[in-house]
Amino acid sequence: MSEQVQHAGHDHPEPGFFLKYCWSTDHKMIAMQYLFTGMAMAMIGGFLAYVFRMQQGFPNHYVPGFGLVTPGRYNEVVTMHGTIMIFWVAMPVLIAAFGNYLIPLMIGCDDMAFPRINRLSYQIFLLSAIVLLGSFLVKGGAFGGAWTAYPPLSASGAYNLTPIGATLWLLAVALEFVAFLLGGINFTVTVMNSRAPGMKMFDIPILIWMIVLATVIFMASAGPLIAGAVMLLFDQTMATGFYDPVRGGDPLLWQHLFWFFGHPEVYVVLLPAMGIVAEIIAVFARKKLFGYKSMLYSTWGVGILSFVVWAHHQFVAGIDPRMANVFTVTTLLISIPVAELVFLYIATLYGGSIRLDTPMLWALGFLAEFLIGGVTGIFLGSSGTDIYLHDTYFLIAHFHYTFVPIAIISVFAGITFWYPKMFGRMMNETLGKIHFWGTVIPFNVIFIPLFMTGMAGDQRRIYSYAQFAEQSRPALQHLRTTSTIGLLVMLSFQLIFIFNFFWSMRNGKRAEANPWRSTTLEWTVPSPPPHGNFAELPTVYRGPYEYGLPGRADDYWPQNAPN
């Protein structure tokens, strides 16, 4: 602790550009590096979505900005869209960017426990992104064996037609996991050891709890996938037969190892998103978060159950039907704690004095859209209905009704909420609201038609339905086209956000330290916070959600105010 106090009081000379933006160990700068890299990757992932949706909406037409989508290119584009959006957008932005920025500020310390490991973590992450994007340029192109990389398709270049891309894909994922393992250790240790004096377990803001639980889930589930990835790498490069049934291997083995990680991964990104939404709802409803402890225990329940649901991805893969029954039960069980969380959010809203600023719109949008995602998941989690719906566009629509709220809507909620803290300026509210409606309405226009085409039987990962007589169904083409138009509208509204984001950095109204009148510690420092964060390290006297208190002059009571 004495070390930290000394550190905060130091006078640092102003570092040069490289040292300041590329070699900094300051958690806020590293968070910005993650945020901007993640946003750049999101644009690439969005462009890829545009390419394959154009192929679906207007089959075999020239796609402006890309060209003709051949079957091979289609496979590459859908694979890389999934990979980028999950591993290079959701993970770095939700966990690494918000985690890095908010953990030290919200628990009241000057930096992460291991600042240099933190810097290394970002550098490895950047390298992984470069390797992944570089794979577009190699012979054969980027990996085209779907983001789940099932063998034998992924194990043999003769099947996936992208031998170099497949190996680079594995390498990039492995590097990224190393980066997030370093980051995860850092997050957990920081929150356990560096909290401000007086901040007890139940005084930690729920977002910080959820980020820590997410990293714990990630670290507990990543090992088996890394083991599986090493085996897949050997199958690709050294001609071993781990996944080759002819030589004593088992292709299903990969599916188990992948989904043992892959399903907890869903909750790894869901929890920080739920945390962001919880913080925002409490502030903008001016009400104490309903059931803080219930929320925490539900989150623990989600985390534990997330390890025993993975085989629901494999109901049609030839697993034992008795095992499928067990996994149906566990899958439906996990919806209980998640539903509990949603009920707690709604109970927080009930009777609050709700202000509909842009961050709150996003938070409410998250609840509404995620609810649709959750309810449609029940049909996929039941092994009986899944046999029909598996790998159809119903699944695609369900997945995006969970993931777009997580990776897009909650990120916008978080950015619009903490933007004043990050950049010292307010974002434009009018543009923010236009952007909100321009994103959420087209989002539904994209995916509601896909529920319908999926129920009618459209299989995913098919580049042109006209090529397959049993998949053709020309009567559904107008739904596919509607979905594509929805995407075009949604993507074009993102320009408003990009404009607002950069324009407000210079021209926005100057933000005071606590523009939303919030109680948590990050709002007690100037906007943007200086190096070392706190001029004087704070002491915490109470929980993080003291709003709407009768008998006080202000309707909120900051965590660090003695009385």
Binding site: P197, G198, A220, M238, F242, G248, F260, T539, V540
Partner: protein, 200 residues
């Protein structure tokens, strides 16, 4: 207001008390890292178990593949377990007799190097007998799992040697020594499990 202040004081006092009992950052970080490593080896071992259970013909090791040197590796396993005991004694002596502690640590490192070297000799013999990564899933899993462990053993030896050299130079960081020990014990404790599952 006075009751308010006393609550405040008790909170600060509690915080001061808990901060004294905190696990050092590097030790906590290492514990979390070792937990992820355990899951990594659990992934490998369960994959191996499945491959073994579903092997064609139900014979393991598959026909035409050499048997693993169970007896020689048992001796090797003992050497590795001995290294952990030596390190444990070294840790206990650290408080009383630093010179003797350093000797025990050096002996532990020597045991670790002996283990890795003997494993290397064994690998060369097995390769000569025709067990390779591509000869069967038996060979593939053997080199994968034992190789992954060997890499960890080498990393542990490098880390402990570095700590030893630093201590000799008079730079003793207790938390760093503790973190390195945790990693060493992990490498030692995971080995008997591998031995039982892969060799026997």
């Amino acid at each position: 207001m006075s009751s308010q202040t006393s609550i405040t004081d008790s909170r600060v006092a509690l915080a001061a008390k808990t901060s004294a009992k905190r696990v050092p950052n590097s030790v906590l970080g290492m514990i979390i890292f070792v937990a992820t490593e355990i899951m990594f080896f659990a992934g490998l071992m369960s994959a191996h178990t499945i491959a073994k259970a579903t092997v064609l013909g139900g014979v393991w090791p598959p026909a035409g593949q050499p048997r693993l040197p169970v007896e020689r590796t048992a001796i090797n396993t003992t050497i590795l377990l001995l290294s952990a005991i030596l390190l444990l004694i070294g840790n206990r002596r650290m408080r009383t007799d630093r010179e003797s502690a350093l000797r025990y640590i050096a002996a532990a490192i020597a045991c670790g190097i002996a283990f890795v070297s003997l494993q290397g000799v064994e690998w060369v013999a097995l390769l000569r007998e025709g067990l390779t990564m591509t000869s069967s899933s038996h060979g593939a899993f053997f080199y994968l799992i034992v190789g992954a462990h060997a890499l960890h053993a080498v990393a542990a030896i490098i880390a402990l040697t570095w700590v030893y050299v630093m201590m000799r130079a008079g730079k003793f960081v207790p938390s760093r020594f503790a973190a390195t020990q945790i990693f060493w014990y992990f490498v030692v404790v995971v080995w008997p499990v591998i031995y039982l599952r892969v060799y026997l």
